[in-house]
Each structure stands twice: as structure tokens, then as C-alpha cells.
Symmetry: C2
Subunit: 250 residues, 2 copies
Amino acid sequence: MTAPGRLIGASLGPGDPGWITRRAWEVLHGAGRWAYPVRAAGERSYALGIVERAGLQAPGDALELIFPMTHDPQELAQAWARAAAAVAESLRSGRDVVFLVEGDASTYATFGHLARTVEAELPAVEVETIPGVASFVAAPARLGWPLATQHETVVVLPGGYGLETVQRLLPEMDTLVLLKVRPLLDPLIDLLEERDLLASSALVERAGSPDERVVTDLRTLRGGAGVHYLSLLLVRNPHRRWARTAGGEG
Amino acid sequence: MTAPGRLIGASLGPGDPGWITRRAWEVLHGAGRWAYPVRAAGERSYALGIVERAGLQAPGDALELIFPMTHDPQELAQAWARAAAAVAESLRSGRDVVFLVEGDASTYATFGHLARTVEAELPAVEVETIPGVASFVAAPARLGWPLATQHETVVVLPGGYGLETVQRLLPEMDTLVLLKVRPLLDPLIDLLEERDLLASSALVERAGSPDERVVTDLRTLRGGAGVHYLSLLLVRNPHRRWARTAGGEG
């Protein structure tokens, strides 16, 4: 019996092909079979696009894995089962699979769930997660802002939180990273204006990609028109009233 | 008058030379003058060590910048002034300066403060921040855990917070990243045990370096002996009682 191939999650960063790590670059040039996510058959893959901008082409035998944007549990389960089966088949043949991940593979990514699904079928499989540049680490770099300095606190809130969560956490956080802000944008802008935080807040969309957008005057976004799904709001809070208590080390 | 050189913050990730990005690799091979931080003259630089493990040597004219581990404000101010002056001198001559940063340059790093200090002296200077793999993104990759899945919240707490901050934030966070845990380690372990969170918590030290240590049974760390300054505690909280409210998008 052939030993199964390794499943490798290759983080590619949020958009700039220069932010691909050397290790991810190495596995992209190795013998592993590429796999990349798309939302529908034949659609463009954001992750694959990053690699293409680095000058690489998907090999002819690359696996296109469909992860539909749906809340229908049956449709989702079927898609996941198909994707995991295709990956497991390659692994069973002894060949590594290199799954392309936009951003970082441990951070709001499908890779972890894919790996667990494949492991359930193929317990002997070895998984390597290559960490990468997370979008909320790239955004402050593009702005020239810190994500956090020495004693600062950071919270990352995904989509689906309410405004009251932001209000409640604001007093003790130096930095708030708000993902998928589109549905909440207008009340968020109102809140930031009220708290005198507009000057220290910015929207960053698809950092490092050719479609990157950095908006530092959030008032221009009222109405939410044109704000992309892959956008985040970075809020630096100079009014934080969280106090140091225990003896820190420096 | 020569145009000043560019100041480049080259993030190197937390320890594995494979986690250096292609862009950072490119500037390391460019004509810019390297600068790297040490705690005392002639001491080893953690950032430089990462690059050396990648097979590169510091050029003979590389700048060693001393950032002493002290709370003495006068000593600190002098060290910062000396470091900024040395960097500014190179930039004024028209040469780029490549500042080596362990982890990510926007995240608990000295680069931002250095850049602002240099900009105060040399307002025309162009700054490039190359984002990198943050330690709290590498740690979950090494564990094979997610930092966050789809609707999950993450908080990062630096050193100097109290136990009551952890207790207060725990109920609404899916993941807590606790930095510089050494002074609080025993009460933290007690708290995690009490909340039934030991099985979903781990300590990661110097991820990706030859001295990496991953400890999943935190009880073995009681007493705190041998826990390194560059360690973090990752707590995954399956008991989170934070509820989704607004209509999320995905």
C-alpha cells in the first residue's frame, strides 16, 4: 500500500504576490497537485489569481474545488463531500495536494475544515499548514499604521456581530478589526463619528491586489455602495480606558 | 541634493526562514543597507538569526541598532535617538535602509516607532512596510488549530493585562491570544482549568525557530520555570456565549 500524500495548506496572503512566503513558493514549485477554491464551476479563483500575478500558471491537472456561497446545508454538505473526496483520491495515490489559500490558512479560511474532513476519511494523512500574511496584518502595513504597539489590545470581529458588540468592546480595545462590514457600514460610521474615531479609522479592501482600495475618509462610504465583500475596517482607538494592572515584563 | 533613500520594514515572521515573504527576500538581496535590532552591543539579534538560517550573511556595513531592555526613560530616549540618527544618515546619503523585523512590522514591533522618529527628522522619507507572518498566526498553524473560523471573534492581549481582563473577555471571545504570559502563568492555568479550557489551550514559544516549543498540557508549566519571553498562550473557547445578531453575509 502506498503511503498517502501530504495535504499542504499554502497561505498566499491577501493579494500581493510578493507577500507569498518562501515555503509556499517552494511547494508551488514542487510535485504536489494544486487545488484551489472557486464559488462556482469555471469561476475565477481569488487565491489562484494571486499565484498567477506571481507569474505561475495552474498545471493542467490542478483540482478546482467548488465551495458555493450558499446557506443551504444540503448543498454545502454535498459540495464539501465532493471536494474532500477529490482531495482524498489524490492523497491516496501517494501524491501531495497543495491547497491554495488567500490570506492565512488558520484565519477565517476553509482549509482547516477541509483538512478535518479529509482526515476523517484518511486518518493517516499528514497535514502541513504554511502560515501567511493575514489581511488584518496587511491592512495596517498599507496604511502605515500599527496594528498594535507594546501594551495594546486588538480584537477581530467577523461579520454578523451587532453594533452593540462594537460599542461594548470599544472602551477596552486599542484596535478593532471589523470584517465584512458592508451590512453595518452606515451605523458603524455614525458610531465612529460620535466617538471621534473617524480620523483614526480606515477601510481597506483586497490589500495588495490590483483592486486594492484604501479609504481614510469613511464618510465618503455612506450608503455602502461599492464596498467589496473582502473589505475590513481598521479602527485605532486613542480613547481606550483599559488600565494596565499586573506587572508586565516590558 | 540627493533624494533620501527609502526606509523599508522587512517582516521576517516569527522564526522559520521559510516564512519570509518573497518581497522581504527581494529587498534582502537588494542594494539597501541592512539594519537590525539588538538588546546590547554585540548581542545576537533574533531577527538577524532568522535571515542567517535562510543562508544569508549580514553585509559588513550592516547597522546594529541597540534597543536596550530598560524602563529608564533617559536611557531609552538616548538609544532611540542614536538608532534614528544612524538610519537617517544612511537615508540622507540616498541609500535605502532595510530594517529586519521578527514577526510582523505592524504588530508589537519597534519598526513603526522607528519610522515615525526618522520621519520627524527627515519628512521626505518614503516608508515601505512589508507585512509578514505574525506569531499569533504562526502558532495555530503549528498546532493545526484555527485561529478563527467563520463567525468567530479573536482578542489579542499583550503583557500587563490582569487576570480579571481575561475573565471579563472570555465569555464573548472564541479565541484569546495572550502574549508575554510568564508573570501570570499560574493563575492563568488555574483559570483555564476551572473553566474547562485546558484541553483547548496551548503554549507556543518561538514558532518555527530551532528552539520552538509547543506545550499542549499546560499543567506541566506550573511554576513558570523555563517559559520564554517570546511565548504566547492560545486559548480556544468552545463555551463562548456571544450571539450573532445582525444579518451577516456569509
